[in-house]
Symmetry: C2
Subunit: 390 residues, 2 copies
C-alpha cells in the first residue's frame, strides 16, 4: 500500500519579548517583533506524523488520540500554503498533491496545563508537511498561519519573529538569532501553577487589547523596538543580567497591557505573583540576577537561569512552595540536585512560606534546544491509522 | 485655663481617576490631575481635635489613642504652612502663634484595612488647624503637603485635584466639581478583602513607577487628560454608564502601571480580580452598567453604583463570596435590604461561587458626602490631654 509519511518532533518556545496583538487577524501578522528561547524537545514537544496516500478517502486528523475535524481555517491555511509551495517546487506529481492527508499529533506534556501547546503543534505539522511535500525555503511563514508564535518553534536556540511590513505577511517570519549551542549554560524551570479559573483565550484577549488598550500602542511603538535590540545584544554577549532584566520587564509589561484592556484580561494569579516576588527577593539577597521569570497567557511561571544556579533557585522555590506530590511526579525533565536554600539566596529564614500547600503542580527542568527534527517512530500504521487511540 | 481648641471630622475620598507619581517628592506635586468622590463622614471619617495653650510645654500628638512623635516632615510642613498663613491673616496674636499645639486624632474605621486613612487624617488636621488659626482661602494646598490625596478630602461631592504647573506647588490644589447634593442617588460599597501579603507603600511604589515605568509616561501625557475631561462631563450630566466605564478603565490602568514598574507593585489579589470579574459579569447580564469597581493601592474593592442597584449587586456579591461573619459585623454603614440575586444580574445559576469562604472581611455601604465639618464633641479634655487612650 502506497502510503508516504513523515514523522517529526517540534519544540515549545517561551517568549522573552512577548507577542500580543495582530495587525491582521486572518494572516496572523503581529503588531510587534517578539523573541523566544526554544525549549529542548526531550522534555516538551509535539510529535506529528503526516501521511498521504491514493487510498485515503478524505483528510483526517487525530490529536492526542482523538479524531478531530480539519474544518479549522488556520489548519486549512497551513495545509493549502504547503501544497501551493509544493506545486511550485514540483517534486511531487500533481496526482500525489491531490491525495488526501492523514495527520496524527501528540504532545509529550499535558495540554491542559496551559503550556502553549499550539505553537509546538503547528510548527510540527508544518515542518512535517514541508518534509513530506519536499518544499524548500523558510516555512516559519507558514507555521505562523496556524498559530502566530508557532513560527518561532521552527528554529532552535534563540529566535526572533520579525513582524514585517508587507500587508500580505510574506516578510512576517522567524529567524534564528543564535543556535542552542551558543549559550549551553542556559536552563529553564517551568513551574506549573494550580489554577481553576476560566481564562480569556489569547486570541480574544489580544483582540480586545488592540481595540482598547491605550498602553499597548505605546508598548508597540516605543518599548518593544528598544527591548528587541537590547536583548538581542545581551544574548549575543551572553549577558545574563541584561537578558534577565528585560525578560522580567517585558513579561510584566505584557501583563500590564492585559490589565489595561477593557474588560481586563488577567492571566497571572496570586501564586504567579508570589513566584515573581520570590525571584526578586533571591536576586536581591544574591546581589546579582540569579533568575528571571516570564509568564505567558496563563499562571505558570517560566524561569530562565544558568545551570549553576538551578539547585539554589529550586531549593528556594521548594522552601516557599511546599508540595505533597511524590518526587518522581513533581520533578520532570533534566535531573536536579536537591539542596538546602543557600545563604546567599536568603537562606530559610528570610524567604517566608506560601500559606497553602500544593500551590505548584509540578516542575519541568529543561534547557534551550534545537528546532523540529524528523524522527523514525511513526504515529500512523501502514494503513495510515493511529497506532494509539485515546 | 486658656486652651483654645477646635474639633473637626473629615472624609475619606475614593479616586476614580487615580493619582500615581510625583514631580516633586517634598512638595507632593503630582504627575497628573486626579478626581475622586468624597465619602460620607457618618460611615468613614477622621476626627481631630487641635488645641493651643500657653501652658503646653511642647507640641504633642495622639493618633488613635497612642502618643506619636511629631517629628515627621509632612506633618511639620502642614503645621508650619498653616502658621505662616495665620501670621499673614493676623487674627491671632504673635504670642498665640508661639503656643505649642496638641493634636488628637481618631478614625471611625479600622486603619489596618488599607482604607486610605492618611487622606482623611491630614485633611482633618489641616482643616481643624485652619479653623483654630482662623486662616482664609483654600487649604487643600496645605493638606496636600501631608498626603497628596488629602487635598481632595477638603471638599465634598466630586472633587478634582489639579496637578498645576507652578514648581512651588501653589496651584496644585483641589476643586469641587459638584457638591454631594448633585448626584444624591450615588452609593458606594467598600468590600474589605482579606489579605496577608506585605505591600509596597504607595509612596515608594509611585516613586519606582516614575523611575522606570514606560507606560506611566504615556498614561500621564495622553490617557489622563482625556479621561479627566470625559468623566467630568459624565458627572455633570449624571451619566452613570460613562462615569462607570472610565472609573473601571482608570483603575485597571493604574494597576497596569504598577505592574509595569520594576520590580512590579502588585496591590490587587485574586479576590480583587474575582470581584472585578463579577462586576463585568453582572453588567453583561444586565445589559447595562450596574456598578463600577475601583481599587487603590491595596486589595479592597470600592464599588460605585446607584441606590436602586445596591440590593441586587450586594446579593450577587453575597452569592459569590460566602461569609461566616455575623450580619451585624459584616454589613456596616447605611442599612441594606438583603434580597435574592435578581435574574437580570444573572441569577444564582450563572455567577459561580468563590472557592474559599470568608474572602471578604466586611462591607461598608456609604454614599457621597460633604467635606470637613466642625463638630462639638472634643477629643481633648480641658487640660489639653486625650479623653481616651488606647
Amino acid at each position: 500500500m502506497a502510503v508516504k509519511s513523515v514523522t517529526c518532533v517540534a519544540p515549545v518556545n517561551i517568549a522573552v519579548i512577548k507577542y500580543w496583538g495582530k495587525t491582521d487577524e486572518k494572516l496572523i501578522i503581529p503588531l510587534n517583533d517578539s523573541l523566544s528561547g526554544t525549549l529542548h524537545t526531550d522534555h516538551m514537544c509535539a510529535k506529528t506524523t503526516v501521511a498521504i496516500s491514493s487510498k485515503f478517502s478524505k483528510d483526517r486528523m487525530w490529536l492526542n488520540g482523538t479524531e478531530e475535524s480539519l474544518d479549522n481555517p488556520r489548519l486549512l491555511a497551513c495545509i493549502s500554503e504547503v501544497k501551493d509551495r509544493a506545486r511550485s517546487a514540483g517534486k511531487l506529481t500533481e496526482e500525489e498533491l491531490q491525495w488526501n492527508v492523514h495527520i496524527c499529533s501528540e504532545n509529550n506534556f499535558p495540554t491542559a496545563a496551559g503550556l502553549a501547546s499550539s505553537a509546538a503543534g503547528y510548527a510540527c505539522l508544518v515542518y512535517a508537511l514541508a518534509m513530506l511535500y519536499k518544499i524548500d525555503g523558510d516555512v516559519s511563514v507558514i507555521a505562523r498561519r496556524g498559530s502566530g508564535s508557532a513560527c518561532r518553534s521552527i528554529y532552535g536556540g534563540f529566535v526572533q519573529w520579525i513582524a514585517g511590513t508587507n500587508p500580505n505577511g510574506t516578510d512576517s517570519i522567524a529567524q534564528q538569532i543564535v543556535p542552542a549551542s551558543h549559550w549551553p549554560e542556559m536552563r529553564v524551570l517551568i513551574l506549573v501553577v494550580s489554577d481553576s479559573r476560566k481564562k480569556t483565550s489569547s486570541t480574544s484577549g489580544m483582540q480586545r487589547s488592540c481595540e482598547n488598550s491605550e498602553l499597548l500602542k505605546h508598548r508597540v511603538a516605543k518599548c518593544v523596538p528598544e527591548r528587541m535590540s537590547e536583548i538581542t545584544k545581551a544574548i549575543l554577549k551572553k549577558d545574563f543580567e541584561t537578558f534577565a532584566k528585560i525578560t522580567m520587564q517585558d513579561s510584566n509589561q505584557f501583563h500590564a497591557v492585559c490589565l489595561d484592556t477593557y474588560p481586563p484580561c488577567v492571566y497571572m494569579n496570586d501564586v504567579s505573583h508570589g513566584i515573581a516576588n520570590l525571584i526578586h527577593t533571591i536576586n536581591k539577597f544574591a546581589g546579582r540576577t540569579v533568575a528571571a521569570y516570564t509568564y505567558d497567557a496563563g499562571p505558570n511561571a517560566c524561569l530562565y537561569l544558568l545551570e549553576k544556579d538551578v539547585p539554589g533557585v529550586l531549593a528556594a522555590v521548594n522552601h516557599v512552595f511546599h508540595t505533597d506530590t511524590k518526587k518522581e511526579e513533581y520533578y520532570r525533565g533534566l535531573s536536579v540536585d536537591l539542596v538546602d536554600v543557600p545563604e546567599q539566596l536568603g537562606g530559610t529564614k528570610n524567604l517566608g512560606q506560601w500559606p497553602e500547600n500544593n500551590a505548584l503542580r509540578y516542575i519541568i527542568h529543561t534547557k534551550i534546544g534545537e528546532g523540529p527534527q524528523i524522527v523514525s517512530e511513526t504515529l500512523l500504521n501502514s494503513e495510515g491509522l493511529p497506532n494509539r487511540l485515546a
